[in-house]
Amino acid sequence: MSAGSIPSGDQIKDPGYPTASENYLTNSKGALSWLFTLDHKRIGVMYLIGVMTAFFAAGLLALLIRLHLFRPDGAVFTGPEANNWYNQVFTLHGAIMVFLFIIPSIPAALGNFLVPVMLGAKDVAFPRLNLSSFYLWVFGAIFFVGALMASGLDTGWTFYTPYSTTTDTSVILATSGAFILGFSSIFTGLNFIVTINTMRPPGMTWFRMPLFLWATYATSIIQVLATPVLGITLLLLIAERVMHIGIFDPEFNGDPVTFQHFFWFYSHPAVYIMILPAFGVISDLISVHSHKRIFGYRFIAYSSIAIALLGFLVWGHHMFTAGMGPMTTIIFSALTFTVSVPSAIKVFNWLATMYKGSISLTTPMCFAIAFIFLFTIGGLTGLHLGTLATDMHLHDTYFVVAHFHYVMVGGTLVSFLGALFHWWPKMFGKMYSETGGRLAAVIIFLGFNLTFLPQFVLGSRGMPRRYATYDPEFQTLHQISTIGTLLLGVGLLVALFVLLRSLVKGERAPANPWGGATLEWQCTSPPPFYNFERPPAVGDPYDFSDIFWDTENERYVTVEPDRKIAPAEQPEPAHAEGTH
């Protein structure tokens, strides 16, 4: 394993560094070569920039919300329109975070970069469709900004009827935006399913796929199966507003709760669109940075699929108080409990992977450990909400707010950051400051808990969500939460600074800085635009036995024992490989 020195006499395999004409970042120049690129890696980078911008914007809105709640009567927005302002700010915060950031964050930004490389393919199956997904994302974002500019949006990210059919704010613009984003998400998912099914090189069997690919696959299934239902729901909502079709409108014999059913039929699976890729990331991070084979590979792989399928059966747990029949609520509650089983399986497997591993506390690993803490809290509090008796009390309180922030921020965002730090050297060919990265991880962990732990208490004491003002008895907890937000913000800025600084000052990254065994570490950092010259030799993605630390050059290398030596690399004559 990694610790010892390189056995002498063996063949060292290391791809070296890319030349400028190979490097996918530099092989063609000019803005147009980016805007019209069909290279999945460049599309991934453009997504990355896009989602981070969205995150920044929505983050500022979050800061406004929290600052406003610093005082019981509201500290930021004043005047007669104060509450309206507050409503708009929390709505846009939620909608942008969910539709523009979290859903595309790992699958579209990192997934686009990683899926083909990890798979050993040259590109995704439909590169043009891939680029159009990105532009659909951009259009969706424009619609959201349009809604913001026009008359805002104050329905909450859930667009519940009947309020959304009666409010004067720009529901149509925002829902059109979400509709378009839905198609972006569908096309990404479709592309990944096809890529994983048909583009695997020889030797890449299903069970040799890195777990990130399993998770992406499961996510894609949800994206393809759930998002169309959101599409039609939003279309019907738009039709309701434009033509008063009456389906959701009691005035015409319609039923507003139908909207909730439709909405959550998508949006509960959508929370797994957010978390499953994070599971995949964490599986890879934990294994690589513990330098130990992942524990229970098949369990983790299958549990992703199980979550994807079970996730379709539990949407009713968002509507326990909306007046469903008692039998229905009981069934939904029971199903909700089953869905937490596969999640727990994963957590135990990660812990077992770390057990007796040789853990390097690198930045990505710090984020991965933070993830395990935070996701566990988030998942367990989900059980309180899935229990009928307690949910009656907790529904629509800050407890729910805390629950979903623990899973979405503590889970998805933290693993997104972990993934970013893990694959950053691969994406941009630069090493960042480890101290800075760890510092960011610690500040984010502390800031996050300071922000959201008090909200569990607030919620269980009865503080309702989505209120601009509150009873003075809640003030202390709210203030702690606001201070936590500031700390969290500082942590995020540190992380951003560390990453951006690495682009300027960072050292050149070796092909395999962490000792990973998956295929992306076998091509140069950054990868050449064609990924692999020839289909790579596919091994076990979690077998670290022939990966060694090369102290001299500060990198990990794959060492092949003498007997396994393939014909040495020689410049091949052109047309030598005419095997097609």
Binding site: V194, I232, F252, Y530
Partner: protein, 378 residues
């Protein structure tokens, strides 16, 4: 973009890669089979999303049919079964021609392929023509989605109305004019390729008006009577509507005066109250003086805005989204037709025809469900 591809090729050269990729094989695929399989899986997944997309509306249909079977029965009388049946036949036939087109592309019968694609396109246009007649007729009668509904049984054909049919036909007239002009110009310049493209497209565009004609003939002798008969049987209880009135208690008057334009909260509160009262219907005896004599009727009139409206909302949503799919399909078929004239397809590369074919069959299949659900079940 060209720069990227050029660069890609250079680099591949440098790495000793081969160039036996046929022109139709994208660079990231190894074999035509892999490319075809990818496309096939992709289109199947896309069809799954389409089915789920429609499933939302099928659910809405099921829910409201369950809640108000009488409304659905009463309203479906207004849909003209003959027109629906004609359209079903047209679409079924187009599925046949589409399947045939796929076959032609597989065995490289280029002229057959063009002919079959043109036939499919023509069927699609006939379908739209007939649909245009159906829609415009209903709009004139006021059989519209709930919010816009103004059908009045006493006067089902109000005199002053916009000529909807004209507005629907207008874009198709422009289209027809356009392709005819294209045909004339390309005939004049003797551009063979353009003639070969424009000719079938002209036929297809003209078929829209064949559909219009067909629809007009059938509509005039259509099942309108059925609806009229139904009307005659249904007891005309306008009194029923009278029974549904707001209680004129003091509080609701205050609320009403508060419910100004901007005050949506109170407006919706008011409408909610009204709804409750309406739901309570005639069963509750209310105090207050403005209540007309409560008439409890066994057979109610379903042709009111509140009831029939939702049926027509669902009708328009489902058939409208379906028609949009037909339009998209037409776009794809035109693209295929041009490529077929260019002789792009061969036994190794006929994927696009196959994929569009699958899409087209799905659109047909959805209609096969819509037709009985909306027109036939009574």
């Amino acid at each position: 973009m060209s720069t990227i591809e050029a660069a890609a090729e250079n680099a591949h050269d440098a790495h000793g890669h081969d160039h036996d990729h046929p022109s139709f094989l994208a660079h990231h695929f190894d074999t035509p089979e892999q490319q075809f399989d990818s496309g096939k899986l992709g289109i199947w997944l896309f069809l799954v999303t389409e089915i789920l997309f429609f499933s939302g509306m099928f659910c809405a249909y099921a829910i409201f049919r369950m809640l108000r079977p009488d409304v659905f029965e009463g309203c479906s009388q207004f849909l003209n079964t003959k027109l629906g049946a004609i359209n079903t036949g047209v679409l079924l036939f187009s599925s046949l021609t589409m399947a045939w087109a796929v076959r032609c592309s597989q065995v490289k019968q280029d002229r057959g392929l063009v002919a079959m694609l043109a036939a499919t396109l023509s069927c699609a246009m006939i379908f739209l023509g007939v649909k245009a007649i159906e829609y415009s007729h209903k709009w004139e009668m006021g059989l519209l989605p709930a919010g816009l509904y103004f059908y009045d049984p006493a006067n089902p054909h109000p005199e002053s109305h916009t000529n909807y049919l004209f507005y629907i036909c207008l874009p198709f007239m422009i289209l027809l004019g356009g392709v005819v002009a294209w045909l004339v110009v390309s005939l004049a310049t003797r551009n063979k390729f353009h003639v070969q493209c424009a000719m079938p497209l002209t036929v297809a565009a003209a078929c829209f008006f064949v559909g219009i004609g067909l629809g007009m003939v059938l509509e005039s002798g259509g099942s309108e009577h059925a609806a009229d008969e139904y009307q005659a049987h249904a007891t005309t209880e306008l009194e029923q509507t009278a029974a549904i009135q707001l209680v004129s208690s003091g509080e609701s008057e205050v609320l009403e005066s508060l419910a100004t334009e901007s005050n949506t909260g109170i407006q919706s509160e008011l409408s909610a109250r009204q709804r409750q009262l309406e739901n309570a219907g005639t069963a509750i005896v209310q105090e207050g003086d403005e209540i007309a004599g409560a008439i409890v009727s066994v057979e109610e009139n379903v042709m009111t805005q509140r009831k029939a409206g939702v049926f027509f909302s669902i009708y328009y949503c489902m058939t409208g989204v379906h028609a949009i799919h037909i339009l998209v399909g037409i776009g794809f078929l035109v693209w295929l037709l041009v490529r077929a004239v260019r002789q792009d397809f061969n036994p190794q590369y006929f994927g696009p025809v196959d994929y569009v074919g699958l899409y087209w069959h799905l659109v047909d299949l959805i209609w096969i469900y819509l037709f009985p659900l909306l027109y036939l079940i009574r």
